[in-house]
């Protein structure tokens, strides 16, 4: 794998350089094409249990992929896949997906749950933002318009209590949620269009 961004040094510079340069590397787009099988063309998932990756925060994508590769973070299949790729390849993939447009999933949601979710956000909004799109840090995933079933499954992993998941703050908060609040919060974040966050970030 050739180095894709040889002239980019700092993290801030990386973000700027990543635009265009990453997507045009045929070797990288070939690698990313293998991700499409499960995560949808260009990382826009067509299967509700699978995360959409397009437009997700770069630092988050990079962090979880490296944690899956090392085994620090529990995964079902991702660790077994990423063992086959270098850290550089993983970082390039994170940048590749991060620069694609965020595309909220078209999904049917229970309006009652969405409304209830809006009332019990406090435990989540500190890090994920009020819509799930204005994340406090780059290594926090944006959730606005993510598939509800995927968010439900992520919360189930944290609430299970038996899995290796490095983010203790997230685990603590997931455990503190009442059963009824889990589905409501997932539905609320899933219902967000992503527009507000996009506008604000510009």
């Amino acid at each position: 794998m050739r180095k894709i961004l040889p002239h980019c040094l700092g993290a801030a510079a990386l973000l700027v350089c990543a635009t265009g340069a990453v997507a045009d590397d045929p070797n990288l787009s070939g690698l990313a094409a293998t991700c499409n099988n499960c995560h949808g063309v260009g990382g826009v998932s067509a299967g509700s249990s699978m995360a959409s990756l397009a437009g997700q925060n770069r630092a988050y994508l990079e962090m979880v992929m490296l944690q899956w590769k090392s085994g620090e973070r529990f995964s079902t299949t991702m660790g077994r896949l990423l063992g086959g790729y270098t850290e550089d390849q993983i970082k390039s993939l994170a940048a590749y997906y991060a620069e694609k447009p965020w595309t909220p999933a078209a999904q049917e949601l229970d309006p009652k749950l969405v409304r209830q979710g809006g009332f019990v956000l406090d435990r989540c909004s500190g890090c994920h933002g009020k819509t799930g799109g204005e994340t406090k840090t780059e290594d926090t995933p944006r959730l606005d318009g993510q598939w509800v079933r995927h968010i439900d499954l992520e919360l189930a992993k944290y609430r299970d209590g038996t899995l290796a998941l490095p983010n203790q703050k997230m685990a603590d908060n997931a455990h503190k949620l009442k059963e009824k609040e889990v589905a409501a919060i997932a539905a609320f974040f899933a219902s967000q269009s992503g527009e507000k966050a996009e506008t604000k970030s510009k």
Binding site: P26, S29, L31, G47, R80, L81, G83, R149
Partner: protein, 432 residues
């Protein structure tokens, strides 16, 4: 990938180190020249993906997909149709998505491929020239070798290993299984498509029996092989979910079926005769007939390919992807799965676009993920990653493997959910 601009893709290919050692023809980026033609033979997961990705990477190429059926029925997850957990319609998709992208879809059957003249002939009387052809015919069944079995008999003794009709026939027979009845699955010598399929089917049938008033029924697997994919995980799931209901007989323990009697639904091995209430006979596989007719198959009946590009090892300009390729044996493990076929198709598409623009192929990436469902909420998987070294497929040992036998309980539930998400994504990735 979907937004890739052809000009940029080709410029980037030209700039890539692999290409830099070659002379990049100035015509590569010329705007006006005769459109190159790519013909894809077969519209399953692999063929559809190849057509789509060639078109996506270089929209100036005219892509024609030739497939006799107007509706594709997925083999993955079809065991859940046998047990009524899914409808057959939920596994079906048409070719409109590819048409919308600009792929020409011709519902016809290819009867001959001429690698010298670079043309294909169809049953409908058409002759199409090509600059590159992708051959993705999948598997064909070998109805010889077991006495009493034939294509005609398969209409009564279903294989349910290809096509909607066969799946629905097996479902109908399972519905009629009496409580206490025996459901026999006959597994041929490897390689077969979907290697864990028969063992997943055993679990699904047991699940159906438990939940449809047939708890005393048994599933007997008569196997021509001595092991199978995800064996420890399957045996664990059988024991846990369906204790005493599923029995597996290895080839070396007398599992190889030599003869069947369709009338009495009896499968005979060298040692015993097994009378079934439902007999599910899966015949041996070979590459689809057109691959053989085109001279692409080896002695074992499968197609050898160049690992860097998926180009046939026999004929230049002919690329073979999917189940028709060599693979799925202990010596050559690249399995015959939808996922594998799709990654092969993407490699072929990249190589074809590069080649038709006078450039060296991009680095190929091969990965496979295959889920099995022992019950609707009980799934596990196998992952393989391959790289190409010295023109050989190499299994990457740092990656891959099966779900752990001692995984936390939630993993089986998660993997069942992910199997469904995987399915929707592969259907969308290949056909829309």
């Amino acid at each position: 990938m979907n937004t890739i601009n052809r000009r940029k893709f080709i410029q980037a290919l030209a700039a890539a180190p692999l290409a830099s050692v070659l002379t990049v023809p100035t015509s590569a980026l010329a705007a006006k020249k005769k459109a190159k033609q790519v013909v894809v033979v077969g519209g399953g997961f692999a063929g559809a993906t190849a057509a789509k990705y060639v078109q996506m990477l270089d929209p100036s190429i005219k892509v024609t997909l030739i497939e006799p059926l107007k509706t594709y029925t997925s083999c993955p997850l079809s065991n859940e149709v046998v047990t009524h957990h899914r409808t057959i319609e939920s596994l079906q998709i048409g070719y409109e998505g590819l048409t919308k992208r600009g792929v020409e879809v011709l519902h016809d059957t290819v009867t001959a491929i001429d690698p010298a003249k670079k043309s294909v002939k169809t049953q409908g009387g058409k002759t199409l020239g090509y600059d590159a052809v992708v051959v993705a015919p999948g598997v064909e069944f070998d109805f010889t070798g077991v006495e009493g079995y034939s294509q005609e008999v398969s209409e009564k003794i279903p294989h349910a290993y290809k096509g909607a009709e066969q799946t629905l026939l097996l479902r109908q027979q399972l519905e009629g299984l009496p409580d206490g009845g025996v459901f026999v699955i006959v597994v041929p010598k490897a390689p077969i498509r979907c290697p864990p399929g028969p063992y997943e089917r055993a679990a699904q049938v047991a699940y159906y029996c438990l939940n449809h008033g047939k708890p005393k029924s048994k599933v007997l697997i008569l196997d021509s092989n001595d092991s199978f994919a995800k064996k420890a995980l399957f045996e664990q799931s059988w024991e846990k979910l369906y204790p005493g209901m599923i029995e597996w007989v290895a080839g070396s323990a007398g599992g190889t079926v030599e003869r069947i009697d369709a009338e009495s639904r009896t499968a005979a091995t060298a040692f015993d005769e097994h009378k079934a209430d439902v007999l599910n006979f899966i015949p041996r596989h070979t590459a689809g007939g057109i691959a053989k007719a085109a001279g692409l198959t080896n002695e074992a009946g499968w197609c050898d390919v160049v690992p860097l590009t998926m180009e046939s090892a026999v004929h230049k300009g002919v690329y073979v992807v999917g189940d028709a390729c060599k693979g799925g044996t202990p010596e050559f493990p690249m399995p015959k799965s939808a996922h594998m076929g799709m990654t092969q198709a993407k490699v072929a598409a990249g190589a074809i676009v590069a080649s038709l623009n006078g450039l060296a192929p991009p680095v190929p990436y091969y990965a496979n993920t295959c889920y099995s469902l022992a019950a609707p909420d009980y799934g596990f998987s196998v992952v393989q990653v391959y790289r190409v070294d010295d023109n050989q497929f190499v299994y990457v040992k740092e990656a891959g493997g099966v779900s752990p036998v001692d995984a936390p309980a939630i993993q089986r539930k998660l993997e069942a959910q992910y199997a469904d998400g995987w399915f929707h994504n592969v259907m969308a990735d290949a056909f829309t």
